[in-house]
Symmetry: C2
């Protein structure tokens, strides 16, 4: 069982997702970003709802239909309903951003 905060892989080349729990009604992943962002015009459009919590680092999340982007730092969390299109506008290039993502039925 990996330690979510101490065993952080180098994600400078690409984002790294690690499954923490896969159960009937929920999947939990740790995602490590390091400067990545969604490509311009790319939107995630998921069947599942996703609750995300930033554990370390910082990021900016863009949710379709919201006037403002959401800057997120350690301890900030957002629940994204199924089919709500969203993208990662920015993650800190100077340090790992560690996300906890809980995928659920909404």
């Amino acid at each position: 069982m990996i330690n979510v905060l101490k065993e952080i892989p180098d994600a400078k080349t690409e984002e790294i997702s690690t499954a923490l729990l896969s159960a009937r009604s929920v999947r939990i992943e740790r995602i490590v970003s390091h400067g990545q962002a969604s490509p311009p015009g790319f939107w995630y459009d998921q069947e599942e709802a996703e609750w995300v919590l930033v554990l370390t680092g910082s990021a900016i999340l863009e949710i379709e239909g919201e006037a403002e982007t959401r800057p997120l730092g350690p301890g900030d969390h957002v629940n994204i309903p199924p089919r709500r299109r969203h993208r990662v506008a920015w993650t800190d290039p100077d340090q790992p951003t560690v996300w906890l993502a809980v995928f659920h039925a909404g």
Copy 2:
């Protein structure tokens, strides 16, 4: 929306749980402990499964049927199946222990 890591209430008198998400298939809570432990002989016995992650502080979890207790620090996580009896043997009396708890269907 509270910041899970920055807005930490004083839990010296009693543990404080804060709902972060209540959805169809999952509930997410932040629990702040500060020296509390389950009473001797008391066991949690829950219909739901519970995945817990320690964010800050330290604790010792006891799971029925396991030979050793589980010391937990920041980044450590455990999934407790439904009806698996468990208790909190110890939490650090000198600092808050912040848990993230994801209750799910198992």
